[in-house]
């Protein structure tokens, strides 16, 4: 293994990384987060609309429209998309 600054920081750094930066979610929440994407389980509490209710046709239409009208894009404005854009044909 090639040493780099990450690996050289060693144990102490790793402990900090895991324990201090962000508390791990509760163990039940963790296992639920994993089990929530298990298609074999009946999801009796999941906070997401069923795929049956996903408006697929409209979403496809909209994404095609966005594609057709697409201009070069890059970093967004700080507060999110707003300022009137001028495009020149």
């Amino acid at each position: 293994m090639v040493n780099n600054t990450w690996s050289l920081m060693g144990h102490e750094f790793q402990t900090n990384w895991i324990e201090n930066v962000h508390q791990a979610s509760m163990s039940t929440v963790q296992s639920i987060n994993i089990a929530e994407s298990d298609p074999e389980l009946i999801q009796l509490s999941k906070g997401e609309l069923s795929k049956e209710m996903f408006p697929l046709d409209r979403m496809q239409t909209i994404i095609q429209k966005v594609g057709r009208e697409l201009l070069p894009f890059g970093y967004e404005e700080p507060q999110g998309n707003f300022e009137t854009q001028a495009s020149y044909k």
Binding site: V21, H22, Q23, A24, S25, M26, T28, V29, I32, A35, E36, D38, E40, L41, I42, Q43, L44, S45, K46, G47, E48, L49, S50, E52, M53, F54, P55, R58, M59, I62, I63, K65, V66, L70, F73, G74, Y75, E76, E77, P78, Q79, G80, N81, F82, E83, T84, Q85, A86, S87, Y88, K89
Partner: protein, 327 residues
């Protein structure tokens, strides 16, 4: 390049400003920040606006207890009881110590996990109280568009004159969480501070998602979509309540939610929440136990939005057997 060839495209923040106006919220595009879901809103606010050691009052139980966002930023959560009209103002007043910095986090519309809709009367009481107590509010309205019986009362934010309320919305619950599009509304000064942190965090939400969100909101298709969702959720709610009556009956207690998609099921059983959770999982059913939301009495969160209707029926039936010790 002449004016004639100039195509002006009004974008997402304007569309959200128009959408908010229908809820009675007057917000210019400059007081709106687009975020990658409501979750990022909570993250940015906890890091940038709140001080270490401050108190976050919230409903007990609450969705916020299942995250560690605020605790990780050094704040502590202080739960306030609820009745069927929402959070209890009297308890909030008693617990609030004016000398400390605190805020109130609340989900007035179709609260997660209880489904409770804060009444108009209660909203007025809370607004009066926070004004007196100088308590800023963080209003989480991610379920507001999913009303089923009647349009909910105006958001608290609609009555905010001094910028004391930060308001959070999202497309996750009503359209798709895969877009990762949400928003924060606040005073322009506060929004600019959050925008600065947002830039340091991810340099803006995905352009493609923002364009897609803009099309949904500005074309009127979002409103049409909501009408269709409402129809389906009404059917799902009815079937779920019927199944609960049939298979849980007097082993449990629940209210009919007027919107959103959660039913809060209190159960009466000799089994612990943990045991019911594990036995359900063994039978192939995933159920959120109330303790992840800091509920101490045995309770579970039922969603009637996700599983196929037949699976909801099967799941509740099996839960009934488990509660009777037959499962």
């Amino acid at each position: 390049m002449g004016m004639r060839s100039r195509k002006v495209i009004l974008k997402l923040r304007q569309a959200i400003s128009d959408y908010l106006l229908q809820k009675g919220i007057l917000a210019s595009p400059y007081s709106i920040l687009i975020v990658s879901g409501a979750l990022q809103a909570l993250q940015l606010i906890s890091i940038r606006l709140l001080q270490k050691g401050s108190t976050v009052f919230l409903e007990k139980p609450s969705y916020l207890y299942s995250l560690s966002t605020f605790q990780a930023a050094g704040m502590h959560l202080s739960g306030i009881g609820m009745d069927e009209e929402g959070i209890l103002p009297k308890e909030l007043k008693e617990k609030n110590n004016k000398s400390e910095r605190s805020i109130l986090y609340t989900i007035p519309n179709f609260h997660n996990p209880t489904g409770i809709l804060m009444t108009e009367e209660r909203r007025k009481e809370i607004l009066q109280l926070v004004e007196k107590e100088q308590l800023p509010i963080l209003e989480d309205d991610v379920y507001g568009d999913l009303w089923l019986d009647n349009l909910p009362p105006s958001p608290l934010k609609a009555a905010d004159k001094n910028g004391n309320i930060l308001y959070i919305g999202s497309l996750s619950k009503s359209l798709s969480p895969g877009l990762r599009i949400g928003w924060i509304v606040g005073s322009q000064a506060v929004i600019e501070r959050l925008a600065d942190l947002k830039m340091q965090t991810d340099y803006g939400s995905s352009s493609l998602s923002q364009k897609v969100a803009y099309e949904w909101l500005s074309s009127g298709l979002y409103e049409q979509h909501l009408e269709q969702i409402r129809e389906q959720l009404l059917i799902r709610r009815e079937v779920t309540l019927k199944t609960l009556n049939e298979y849980i009956g007097d082993l449990g207690q629940w209210r009919i939610p007027q919107g959103g998609f959660f039913i809060w099921l209190r159960v009466f059983s000799d089994l612990s929440m943990r045991e019911i959770y594990s036995r359900s999982l063994e039978k192939g059913i995933l159920l959120n136990p109330g303790n992840i939301y800091s509920q101490t009495n045995t309770a579970f969160q039922i969603s009637f939005a996700n599983a196929a209707i037949e699976d909801i029926e099967t799941g509740i039936q099996k839960l009934g057997f488990i509660l009777r010790g037959e499962g």
